[in-house]
């Protein structure tokens, strides 16, 4: 019981820190259960060995189009300019997220991917990692640059944002990544977003080949998927 109280106090204190645009006092009064969004109960660390690369297929789920972005140095770019026709792991986050199974998990997994990819010549040549903020109001290029320096990418891991919510909306819609500002009953934004964690695996033809969420976002599993797609393209090349 004491543990739960401590946990609740910690959650609310941290939530208040995150809610710079919101009302700290009101956020402190929110039940921590309100701030967890999914059915995930407890730790969602995987308890399995993912299937071996090439032992399964990843049928295309959807095709995405190009979208304008701002890179972490404030320069205009686009999604496809960052991925350059390579395999890509594309994640949507906001930097002040406090959802345990949300953005912190996403960033942590991409951090692990980055280190493994950097140590594998084939993966390093053929894979891009892209983290895009869905909070353009607060996640400026400067903040994304700080995020980049915090993670110190060893592979081609790009951090990007957008100019505005208007520019962001078509990108989120294309990826089917629902995001909504959590508001108090009077309409004031709490500073938090409701969002289902999604990380997307793109192939070289701009097709979504997997979507990772709680329980599926595991670095080893994503690496096996990347290697599965590399094997697939190698087999296709042999046939031609």
């Amino acid at each position: 019981m004491r543990g739960h109280r401590l946990l609740a106090a910690a959650v609310l204190a941290l939530a208040a820190v995150a809610a710079r645009a919101g009302d700290d006092a009101r956020l402190r009064a929110v039940d921590p259960a309100e701030l967890t969004y999914t059915y995930a109960v407890g730790r969602f660390a995987s308890e399995y060995t993912p299937p071996a690369p090439g032992s399964y297929t990843l049928p295309p789920i959807a095709t995405v189009t190009d979208h304008p972005l701002l890179d972490a140095d404030g320069r205009p770019t686009t999604l496809f300019a960052l991925t350059q026709g390579r395999l890509a792991v594309v994640a949507f986050v906001y930097t002040t997220c406090i959802e345990a199974t949300g953005c912190p998990l996403s960033l942590g997994v991409l951090h692990r991917l980055d280190r493994t990819i950097a140590g594998d010549r084939e993966l390093a040549r053929r894979v891009a990692l892209v983290t895009i903020s869905f909070d353009p109001e607060r996640d400026t290029p400067a903040r994304m640059a700080v995020m980049r320096s915090f993670h110190a990418p060893a592979s081609d891991w790009r951090f990007a944002t957008t100019r505005s919510e208007a520019e962001l909306a078509p990108l989120l819609a294309d990826f089917d990544q629902p995001v909504a500002k959590l508001r108090f009953a009077d309409g004031v934004w709490s500073g938090l977003f409701r969002h289902v964690l999604k990380v997307f695996l793109l192939d070289g033809q701009k097709r979504v080949r997997n979507v990772y969420s709680v329980g599926l976002l595991d670095a080893t599993l994503v690496l096996n998927d990347l290697r599965t797609l590399l094997l697939e393209s190698a087999r296709a090349a042999e046939l031609h």
Binding site: L7, A8, V11, L14, V17, A18, A29, V30, D31, P32, A33, E34, T36, T38, Y39, A40, V41, G42, R43, F44, E47, Y48, P50, P51, S55, Y56, P59, P60, I61, A62, T95, T96, I98, A100, T101, P104, L107, A142, R143, V146, M147, F150, D176, P178, A180, L182, R183, A185, D186, R194, V196, K198, F200, V211, Y212, S213, V214, G215, L216, L221
Partner: protein
């Protein structure tokens, strides 16, 4: 700035570690896909996917919205809206997509699928898409049953096939835009299907097995009297490597295992199902070597009476299993704290017949509906058709409200899902008091 953002990152990491101890959620249904957001607090609405009855109202299948928040007295236990889909299609199961906005609902007869958008006005869902190419898309799967949200996708189980309308069937995946992705046929000799549930923590999916179109579209009395027809029911649960979508183990669970409910708490590596024809509770449990074992752990009533266990619901703390038996219209509540030894703790007569049961995540309310299949429901005065809400205090069920779906000229109520105003208005609030009033 650098210091502030770094602090945010550390905040995130610290919180992730803290939350790994699990904060209990307080409401919504249990037993839903773990890949979708949940509603918290009191549900405002129960959405009921309802079979049409010729001569009752417009006679069509429809999605009915019932008021379920006692703070809204004027609409509590009342029909708020209904959306007809024109015609009778054997409306059966439904499920939200991963955004919890779009409710997919299926018809077992002609295999049509309807997608309702509940977000713009949660009291009045709107039909936004119809998929009438399920059989063609899937290369011959018939009878879309379970709708289970996956990230970016909807996993749909079939019950039958277009070739012989028997029980051989498949799993079918669509993306959230309603575009077909793939069909995965169940493996012989465990080719029948019914429910599918994923435990992402274990990368395992379980599928159960019922019967094909030939049986579920035939009068139940005729099926029971036909020895040949009775041979065509499933007797297996299949264990899948979920990520690879490969069947890796077949478990013998005789007598049509239906609904599957994974335990919800960490380290509870097991699931329950019930065998409809044998009237038993089965425990599907992971062993130390990673394989699964199926054990029948309890009889439900007297199996010789064929009480026909149908839907089940597991409480969020994995303590109580609610088991509906269709023939005697009764809900039996088992204490499954020890999953190997369920203990019957409560028996409640709900009506002349009862099928679906949905418990709220906070464990305080339980909802029931009456209809099984158009041709399997009872007839005459025993053909009660209702949604009933009950309170549950851990010891007994107490009636809260009832909606007579015949008197309301709606039809046969089947699966239930919950809705809430403030979820779709993206609101959070402090405490329980006054949220509904504030939301309006």
């Amino acid at each position: 700035m650098a210091r502030r953002v770094s602090f945010s990152l550390m905040v995130g990491a610290a919180l992730a570690a803290l939350l790994s101890g699990a904060i209990p959620a307080r409401a919504d249904e249990t037993c839903m896909s773990p890949y979708m957001p949940k509603i918290t607090g009191q549900e405002d609405y129960v959405y009921v996917w309802t079979l049409g009855i010729e001569g009752v109202g417009d006679g069509s299948d429809k999605l009915v919205t019932i008021g379920a928040n006692p703070a809204d007295a004027a609409r509590y236990g009342k029909v708020i809206s209904s959306v007809s889909v024109a015609g009778r299609h054997e409306a059966h199961h439904a499920g939200f997509g991963d955004d919890r906005r779009h409710l997919w609902a299926g018809g077992l007869d002609d295999s049509k699928i309807w997608v309702f958008d509940v977000a713009p006005d949660p009291a009045r869902p709107k039909l936004v898409r119809t998929v009438d190419s399920f059989v063609k898309d899937s290369d011959g799967v018939v009878g879309p049953h379970t709708f289970f949200a996956l990230p970016g996708r909807m996993l749909i189980t079939g019950l039958s096939n277009a070739k012989d309308h028997g029980g051989k069937t498949a799993l079918v995946e669509y993306n959230n835009d309603g575009k077909f992705i793939q069909t995965l046929w169940l493996p012989d000799p465990a080719a029948y299907g019914y429910d599918a549930r994923v435990q992402p923590r274990l990368n395992r999916m379980l599928t159960s097995s019922f019967t094909g179109w030939n049986n579920y579209m035939t009068d139940l009395r005729k099926v029971i009297a036909d020895a040949e027809a009775m041979k065509h029911f499933g007797n297996t649960v299949v264990v899948w490597d979920f990520h690879a979508r490969k069947a890796i183990q077949t478990l013998e669970v005789p007598g049509a295992p239906l609904e599957i409910r994974w335990a919800l708490q960490p380290r509870h590596n097991y699931a329950f199902t019930t065998a409809a024809l044998k009237s038993k509770i089965w425990l599907i449990e992971q062993q130390d070597d990673g394989t699964f074992k199926a054990s029948d752990v309890a009889d439900i009533a007297n199996p010789m009476d064929v009480p026909l266990p149908v839907d089940i619901s597991l409480s969020a703390d994995d303590r109580f299993l609610f088991v509906d038996t269709f023939m005697d219209g009764t809900c039996r509540v088992y204490d499954v704290s020890d999953p190997h030894q369920p203990k019957l703790v409560q028996t409640e007569k709900i009506g002349s017949q009862v099928n679906m049961v949905s418990e709220t995540w906070d464990g305080k309310r339980v909802y029931f509906t009456s209809s099984l299949l158009a041709n399997w429901d009872k007839t005459g005065k025993d053909n009660e058709q209702f949604l009933k809400g009950y309170g549950w205090d851990g010891k007994q069920l107490t009636a809260l409200f009832a909606v007579d779906f015949l008197k309301e000229k709606l039809g046969r109520p089947h699966i239930m899902h919950f809705g809430q105003e403030r979820f779709y208005k993206n609101q959070i609030y402090a405490g329980e008091a006054g949220p509904l009033a504030a939301a309006r």
